[in-house]
């Protein structure tokens, strides 16, 4: 720490900090455009000029480091004059179109022009104009407004990891541009809107829809991935009605989670809230035709039908599934209701199919470390994890860490297009992947002098390189991604990875899909544990079991089985045959009209209050932006009243707080120690089958985001096609661009085939969650491909 003087006051600041960092820390404002605390220093806007004693010229505060006893004036005549002049320069070419600019009212240039500028300019010539840049369906550009601060370029390079924008030409003709005009590929492109200090980059979906001063800001938690990024909903009110409409979403700063970034999925999914398929009143099916009903009628029908089924067949006939946008309170009520009705069959792990080690797992999945810890690792090891599309915000931590010496290794079922370079990577089909992981564990155990617990094949060169890297690193995190969790070998993967973690002294964690998968498991929406975390001696049926041993009645809370579960075909068939299917849902779909008997409209994440638990285990609560649209109600109210209709005791909650209090009392389970079984032999692996990899594209991951229209336009051709490598294509006699039939048991779809050598042998990638792949087969299982006749 050193002493410096700013505006006559002495402060203690960190040595090596820049003047602007020192000033920010003590709440002294210095105007700036190009400086952003999360980006590298460019010092090209010159707005932050300050006077430093004994220096002839004003110095840029962002790139001048403090030195002991430095005397700085941020408001002296010299500093202010310098800032006024810079402002005048910046405005030479900036158009005065603030009235039509979406940034107007929330614009750094406007603010600083008022605060530090001058109302007159010595320049009177023509302003320059720059052509618009087409950057895709999410970003609207007005490059004439650009002041060349390069924040967007630095964001895309340093944090986004994709160098998509650059500064071309020079001098007065300098402009931000792409190399060839094409849509941005980044999953984080929306953050460029936030870093842009002017209106050169604005959000296309909320373009011209309103002005920043009419919006009301509501704190929220992103509802699409397990990080729990903090954000703000911005809403406005139309026609003096009670309901408010979400107009845009912006990040909320939280250093320990998302810093100041959110993914495009979190930012633009709000468009789905007003989709035409939004269910706005309770619907009941009578003799195959759907009719609107009052809540009273719909709920009493639910209670009657469910009650009579349970009376005649016992509580065991009920199966319950909860989707990941269900809040903790809703999950708590749902499992309480299920168990009060005498059923143990409840599950929220929609994208898993190997539950053989569930009794030994943590009550709810964990990252194994804090999200912020990822900044200071030596080695990060991903196993079956497409972190770029599934948890894009994590890459904003990984990319800058790479510069500081982080090395990332991965073992993946395909060569994912990460935005950061990998030090070592193994790409192999599911069975070979298991072999290589076992080989890695055996190799590391041998090097550590421990007796190998598993016999494995010879490790490949890359596996050996990964072993070497892991053995030579201090701080390591192992992360098991959504692909590994969805695999039929998930328990073997988990066991081997936790062994590996113990051997190399690493943290081991999971990255499951969905906003509240963690919270739902915590409150007991699993068949093998109660809300208090106590394991059941006789667990109920998990999601796979529920479909293999069909129940008579099902309650589905906030999910669309045709697109949201791994075993879509079997689930649809079982639901079709069930006597009663009650859907608590914000959106309806054609498939749902088929299998459901009663649809109850519940509030999507913006219209309900509640809590999500993120992968670190921290519980974050949020308030509803508005009263729900139409006749929709928050799911916790629906569940509470449904329980009353079913005449169940202990459901007399008067408010959400009452549910929350009950939850916090009941679910006060200490984290039990996770003792995973040690895998001794590898599960028998089938060879010579074509295994379907079934990742969910980022914009198809849940019901809300599937309905966000602008995001859908970002789907690229390779994300909606079946992918195989050239070898597989030639053995099947298929060519790039041809239509193929993919078949799995009874279900069959037609899809365009593309040859992509990122896919290993014996694998075909057919994305889940697409409208064409809805209800198709099971993920991560064998499929056959044949040429389509059509």
């Amino acid at each position: 720490m050193i002493d410096i003087q700013i505006n006559g006051q002495t402060y203690q600041v960190l040595e090596g900090a820049s003047i602007i960092e020192a000033a920010d820390e003590h709440g002294i404002y210095i105007p700036r455009f190009c400086y952003h605390k999360k980006l590298s220093v460019a010092a090209n806007c010159r707005m932050c000029l300050v006077e430093v004693a004994n220096m002839k010229k004003p110095m840029p505060a962002c790139s001048t480091p403090v030195s002991p006893d430095m005397v700085i004036f941020t408001q002296s005549e010299k500093a202010l004059e310098a800032q006024r002049s810079v402002m005048e320069f910046l405005l030479i070419n900036h158009p005065l179109d603030c009235p039509v600019c979406d940034q107007g009212g929330a614009c750094e240039l406007q603010d600083l022009s008022i605060g530090f500028g001058c109302s007159e300019s010595d320049f009177g010539g023509d302003k320059r104009a720059v052509d618009k840049l087409e950057l895709g369906p999410l970003l609207q550009t007005y490059m004439t407004r650009c002041i060349q601060c390069t924040r967007c370029i630095r964001f895309s390079r340093e944090l986004g990891g994709l160098s998509e924008l650059g500064m071309i030409d020079r001098g007065g003709g300098e402009k931000v541009s792409t190399y060839v005009e094409r849509d941005l590929q980044s999953e984080l492109s929306g953050n460029m809107i936030d870093v842009c200090p002017v209106g050169a980059l604005t959000a296309k979906p909320s373009r011209f829809a309103g002005r920043s001063w009419e919006y009301v800001e509501h704190e929220g938690v992103a509802a699409h991935d397990c990080l729990g990024s903090n954000m703000y909903w911005h809403s406005s009110q139309h026609d003096n009605v009670e309901t408010r409409e979400v107009m845009r979403v912006v990040p909320k700063e939280n250093e320990s989670i998302n810093e100041c970034w959110i993914s495009d999925r979190d930012r633009f999914s709000f468009e789905g809230l007003t989709h035409e398929s939004r269910l706005l009143s309770p619907m009941v099916k009578h003799n195959g035709t759907w009719k609107e009903a009052s809540w009273e009628a719909a709920l009493s029908e639910c209670a009657d039908k469910l009650g009579s089924l349970i009376d005649s067949n016992g509580g065991d006939c009920l199966g319950v599934l909860a989707g990941p946008q269900t809040t903790m309170e809703e999950g708590f009520l749902l499992q309480k209701l299920t168990r009060a009705l005498g059923s143990k069959h409840i599950d929220s792990r929609l994208r898993e199919q190997d539950f053989s080690d569930q009794a030994c797992r943590l009550p709810s999945p964990r990252l194994g470390c804090q999200i912020a810890d990822l900044d200071s690792l030596d080695t990060l090891f991903f196993f079956g994890c497409d972190v770029r599309t599934q948890h894009p915000v994590l890459t904003t931590r990984i990319n800058p860490s790479i510069e500081e010496g982080l090395s990332v290794c991965a073992m993946n079922p395909m060569d994912y297009a990460y935005t950061f370079p990998l030090t070592e990577q193994v790409v192999a089909g599911p069975s070979a992947l298991l072999q290589q992981l076992a080989a890695l564990v055996a190799l590391v155990a041998k090097e550590k002098g421990e007796s190998a617990v598993i016999s494995a094949e010879k490790p490949s060169a890359q596996t050996q390189a990964i072993a070497k890297r892991l053995l030579n690193s201090e701080k390591i995190a192992l992360l098991m991604g959504e692909h590994a969790l969805a695999s039929t070998h998930a328990s073997a993967f988990r066991s081997l990875l936790s062994q590996l973690a113990t051997l190399v002294g690493a943290s081991f964690g999971e990255l499951p899909y969905g906003a509240n998968t963690v919270g739902l498991q915590y409150v007991g929406c699993v068949p093998h544990r109660q809300a208090d975390g106590m394991a059941l001696a006789e667990p109920g049926l998990d999601i796979v079991g529920m479909m293999e041993q069909p129940r008579r009645a099902y309650v589905l809370c906030q999910l669309e089985p045709e697109s949201d579960v791994l075993q879509a075909a079997k689930t649809l068939k079982t639901l079709d045959e069930a006597a009663l299917v009650i859907c608590l849902t914000a959106f309806e779909s054609d498939a749902m009209r088929q299998y459901a008997d009663i649809m109850l409209p519940v509030a999507p994440p913006s219209e309900t209050s509640g809590q999500f638990m993120n992968i670190e285990g921290s519980i974050q609560s949020f308030q509803a932006v508005t009263v729900p649209h139409g006749d929709a109600r928050p799911a916790w109210k629906v569940l509470r009243v449904l329980a009353n209709f079913l005449k169940l005791d202990h459901f007399e909650y008067r408010s959400l707080e009452a549910v929350r209090n009950d939850l916090s009392v009941v679910c006060e389970s200490e984290d039990s120690v996770c003792e995973l079984p040690i895998l001794k032999t590898l599960p028998s692996l089938k060879e010579n089958e074509l295994i379907r990899l079934a990742p969910w594209p980022m914009v198809r991951s849940d019901a809300l985001v599937r309905r966000a229209s602008s995001l859908q336009k970002t789907l690229r051709a390779e994300q909606v096609s079946a992918l195989v490598n050239a070898a597989v294509a030639s053995t099947h006699g298929l060519s790039d661009g041809s239509q193929v039939k993919a078949r799995q048991g009874d279900s069959e779809i037609e899809i365009t085939l593309r040859v992509d050598d990122r896919i290993p042998d014996q694998c075909v990638m057919i994305p889940s969650g697409l409208s064409i792949s809805a209800g198709f087969g099971s993920a991560e299982q064998a499929v056959t491909l044949e040429k389509s006749n059509a």
């Binding site: 994709l162 160098s163 924008l165 650059g166 500064m167 071309i168 030409d169």
Partner: protein, 170 residues
């Protein structure tokens, strides 16, 4: 680096030489040398393909190569004439009569600044200071040779010589 990513061996070796001159991890410093070598080889202008190849060879995103190429005046993106005449129109040259030189060139060649003659012989460019103010006005041929203390007459002599040179070269 045995794979030249579509670049010729000679261009690739120029880049290799320049990469060695800079500390490890600073390979991007070789971009300009690579662009110049590739442009000369391609008859005076760059194409997207060349820039992509250089980017791939050095291991940079294409936009970062394009940034450099668009910054420097000597990088051309369209086919140009055999001789590029870069006439300085900056202050010193202007005061010493570069307007007369420009007018004369435009009249003699029948094209405007920035254009190429029909026969593909000359391209006219007005450029900023080329650091020969002491002998203004001046022009530069093909980014290499400087011709100073110009008068319309000496320009004619120069043009005649270049035309003769081109003819004898054919």
């Amino acid at each position: 680096m045995s794979d030249t990513h579509g670049l010729s061996q000679s261009t690739a070796s120029v880049i290799d030489v320049w990469i060695k001159k800079f500390p490890e991890g600073k390979a991007r410093s070789a971009v300009l040398a690579g662009l110049k070598a590739a442009q000369d080889e391609n008859g005076g202008h760059l194409t997207n393909e060349i820039m992509e190849n250089i980017a791939a060879y050095i291991g940079l995103p294409a936009i970062e190569v394009f940034e450099v190429a668009s910054f420097y005046d000597m990088c051309e993106f369209k086919p140009i004439g055999r001789y590029k005449l870069s006439v300085c129109t900056n202050v010193s040259c202007m005061l010493c009569g570069s307007h007369a030189i420009v007018d004369h060139l435009e009249k003699r060649l029948g094209v405007k600044m920035g254009e190429t003659t029909q026969d593909g012989m000359f391209t006219l460019r007005d450029v900023e200071c080329l650091a020969a103010c002491i002998n203004a006005p001046m022009l530069q041929v093909n980014d290499r040779e400087l011709y100073e203390k110009l008068t319309p007459e000496s320009v004619d002599v120069l043009l005649d010589r270049l035309i003769a040179e081109a003819k004898s070269g054919e």
